[in-house]
């Protein structure tokens, strides 16, 4: 204790030199795990882009932190001509950060760019291909002419690629410059970007939704979760978007800090290779699902920061059916089913997973333990993530089980289910089910949300009935925050909008 006091007092001078630890008044600092490298809305699809994009840009529609759709740059929208046309009425008097007025031409320019050659270079385009074209009716009205119904379109217009960009600025400066010096209509204006290090924004006092309360907003790119936690503890960041689960308790105990945890968009499942060996038998697949105590895994490995799921989606997802319950942990029934299916004790299967994910490695070990208890020996096969995603899964080279993790940014089961179960989709190397295809097609081609919800729930029930996968859990979105920051309105999908945020 003496040593501690001595060290502390003897080095106060040094500590003063290290003064960047203290904040300038009115600056909110956020740690992000990744620098997307380009701020052009059409360029990337990374969550870290979304965490910044909604500060600089607005979409026609916006989403509140609890994921409700509300008017953005469009004040209202109506479906015309038997739902083949959507008419948007635009907000008046809005200006881009460089002074350029926002109007119908800007909307048309944005979508022409997204659906044209410029958009082809990025991954965004594929999400908007249901739009045939955008037609200017008058400066405050645009029509979207649809090629086909796209029930998730309104959600998509609230984010990412559909953010409205300034035509004159983009044309004059070019996309490359725009990507490094973004201009939008959002609550914060671009100040400075240091690739891989930081991004500085300042408030847009003329924001149509009211001026933000903080003067400056700084993002720091810190990939290592442990380093984010250290920066948070040192009081140098106010929001950390990735902290190690093991650090949650330590941060909670710090009187200056808090942990904010909520249902998130990321779901995990162990998919079954229904073409291989014993896994062709539905009863065997069901038995494996019954044999694993997922509640215990969530409690002990994930320290409670996840929820059990019955289908491959989180609770916030459109199409999630609270009445559909996960199969209970029942090793006895599992063993009976395996016996009936003629599976001999000691039968070997292989589980492929993302090796670098240390949390999941423990989950996989736990799963192997539970399966061992019902007589199935599991060989764990860790792959480098990209190898698993690029070579093993799409080419159908997996073992009997494989880890699948999905982010579903639209919070709509369509996004996941289509990619997972429609025949020959990249994430569906094994299953080919005409009934599933028909259902997936049906929900995609209607604007009727009530009917869609029924269909999506039917899909989830059918997949569960066929035991195509072992649904594991949906991960909570966990933020570490400094309590000096108030009214952060943290969203489950990581797409921050700090309009009301304050710092003491």
């Amino acid at each position: 204790m003496k040593l501690k006091a001595l060290l502390a007092s003897g080095t106060i001078a040094l500590a003063c030199l290290a003064a960047p630890a203290s904040h300038a008044a009115g600056t909110l600092t956020v740690a992000l795990h990744q620098d997307p490298g380009n701020w052009d809305p059409v360029a990337t699809f990374l969550v870290s882009w979304g965490a910044v994009g909604s500060q600089i840009f607005d979409g026609l529609i916006m989403r509140t932190p609890d994921m409700k759709l509300v008017p953005g740059l469009a004040t209202k929208w109506e479906f015309l001509d038997k739902n083949t046309k959507i008419r948007f009425t635009l907000r008046q008097g809005v200006k881009f950060h460089d002074g350029e007025p926002f109007d119908a031409d800007a909307v048309k320019f944005t979508f022409d760019r997204l659906l044209g050659d410029e958009g082809k270079k990025g991954p965004q385009q594929s999400n908007y291909t249901s739009i045939d074209k955008v037609v200017v009716v008058n400066p405050t009205t645009v029509d979207f002419i649809m090629k086909s119904p796209d029930p998730v379109l309104l959600t998509k217009l609230a984010g990412y690629g559909a953010m409205i960009v300034p035509p004159k600025y983009v044309k004059e400066k070019g996309s490359e410059y725009f990507g490094a010096h973004p201009v939008g209509t959002g609550p914060f204006k671009f100040v400075e970007y240091k690739p891989k290090i930081s991004l500085a924004l300042e408030k847009n006092a003329a924001y149509w939704g009211g001026s933000p309360k903080v003067d400056n907003l700084t993002y720091r790119f810190i990939a290592e979760p442990a380093t984010q936690a250290a920066e948070l503890q040192a009081g140098r960041v106010d929001v950390a978007n990735q902290i190690p689960l093991a650090m949650v308790d330590t941060i909670k105990k710090d009187p200056k800090l808090a942990v904010v945890s909520m249902d998130g968009p990321v779901a995990l499942a162990l998919r079954y290779n229904t073409k291989r060996g014993i896994m062709q038998n539905r009863d065997v697949r069901k038995a494996l699902t019954l044999a694993v105590d997922r509640d215990a895994i969530i409690k002990s490995v994930l320290l409670g920061q996840a929820k059990p799921i019955a289908s491959f989606q989180g609770t916030l997802s459109f199409g999630n059916d609270p009445a559909l319950k996960p199969l209970p942990f029942n090793p006895k029934e599992a063993m009976a089913l395996l016996k009936k299916a003629g599976v001999k004790p000691g039968t070997q299967i292989q589980l492929d997973f993302r090796g670098p994910d240390s949390n999941f490695r423990e989950v996989a070990q736990a799963v192997a333990g539970y399966l061992q208890a019902v007589g199935i020996t599991v060989t764990l096969k860790p792959y480098e993530t990209n190898v698993l995603l690029n070579d093993i899964i799409p080419n159908g080279k997996t073992g009997e089980m494989w880890q699948n993790q999905w982010g579903g940014w639209t919070f709509d089961y369509d996004n996941t289910a289509y990619a997972m179960y429609y025949t020959k989709q990249r994430w569906n190397p094994f299953d080919d089910d005409a009934k599933l295809n028909a259902l997936l097609h049906q929900q995609r081609n209607t604007w009727d949300q009530a009917a869609r919800k029924d269909t999506l729930q039917e899909i989830a029930r059918y997949v569960a009935d066929q035991s195509l996968e072992m649904p594991l859990y949906s991960l909570n979105t966990v933020y570490g925050i400094n309590k000096r920051a108030k009214d952060l309105a943290l969203p489950a999908d990581g797409r921050f909008r700090f309009v009301d945020a304050r710092v003491d």
Partner: protein
């Protein structure tokens, strides 16, 4: 001497060519950047992925891509990052000073610590001081660098908030990463200095020098140290390669904006141009250091020049 230098420079150029070829080929085995860029993009189709690949020039045969990279290199153009399109030369230009200052300071610190300690251990061979120094260096050797880095952060940023835990916030940010590297380096350097010094001290000319009545200081620092400089320079030159390897990890933990972080992120993001660029520059540095080491021999020991 000029023939010697020319030969070494040609060798260096050849090494670099092989390294770039190998790295360019190897990164392409690690997987497809298109899927990384499309990450999270709902139901991304094969056509979307093909478009992205085409946009990045990845639809071309490997040798064509490699040729384009080499042509760019000759013009000082490293290409553009797949992630966002920032010119790689700019990214490297920003990161290089950070890495060089970290490497330089770590090396300097370690020499300042390890040479006197190694000499002390050699003089007191077998005695308490020697034992103590050897135990300390053994402890230093046993630390994995990332663990040491995390412990330093806990101690000097969280428990005693003296230094910034990560990033670049002025010169103080350099202290912990350099200290981490220096501790690891010193552990081996101390042992090396000790061994080299012991060997030298048993040589006849040292006994002669002592017999002439020269002070122990002069014997040690003038006669002995100069003669064990060759193995030391060699070793420190070789060590530079290890140093760079270790820096990747240490930079990562401290979020140090250097080449190590750049390379690490490029690996996880399959950002081929950035990885090719950083590895090329890192190998260039290592090759240059080795070249300098070779030339330094020539300066220290004229016999080597004539070989």
């Amino acid at each position: 001497m000029s023939g010697f230098v020319l030969k070494r420079v040609l060798q260096a150029a050849f090494v670099l060519l092989v390294v770039t070829l190998f790295v360019s080929y190897a990164v392409r085995l690690t997987g497809d950047p298109a899927i990384m860029l499309a990450q999270g993009a709902g139901s991304v189709t094969e056509q979307d992925l093909a478009n992205i690949r085409k946009g990045l020039g990845l639809d071309q045969p490997f040798l064509v891509q490699y040729g384009a990279f080499l042509r760019g290199l000759l013009h000082g153009d490293f290409g553009k990052s797949f992630m966002g399109g920032t010119p790689v030369a700019q990214l490297i230009g920003d990161a290089l000073p950070a890495t060089l200052s970290l490497a330089g300071l770590s090396l300097l610190l370690s020499v300042l610590v390890s040479v006197p300690l190694g000499i002390q251990a050699a003089i007191h061979q077998g005695k308490g001081t020697d034992q103590f120094i050897r135990i300390i260096s053994l402890v230093g050797l046993s630390f994995p660098n990332f663990w040491l880095a995390i412990m330093l952060v806990l101690l000097l940023s969280i428990t005693f908030p003296l230094l910034p835990p990560s990033g670049w916030d002025g010169p103080l940010s350099l202290v912990m990463p350099a200290l981490t590297m220096a501790i690891i380096l010193s552990a081996t350097n101390v042992r090396l200095v000790r061994t080299a010094m012991l060997e030298t001290l048993s040589a006849q000319y040292i006994m002669v020098a002592r017999a002439k009545g020269l002070s122990e200081r002069i014997v040690l620092y003038k006669h002995a140290l100069r003669n064990c400089a060759i193995p030391l320079i060699t070793y420190i030159g070789l060590q530079f390669g290890n140093l760079i390897g270790g820096i990747v990890v240490v930079e990562k933990v401290f979020n140090w904006p250097g080449l190590g972080t750049l390379a690490f992120d490029a690996i996880s993001g399959r950002d081929y141009p950035v990885l090719q660029g950083t590895v090329t520059v890192l190998s260039l540095i290592i090759v240059l250091v080795n070249l300098l080491v070779d030339m330094a021999y020539g300066l220290v020991d004229p016999r080597i020049r004539s070989k």
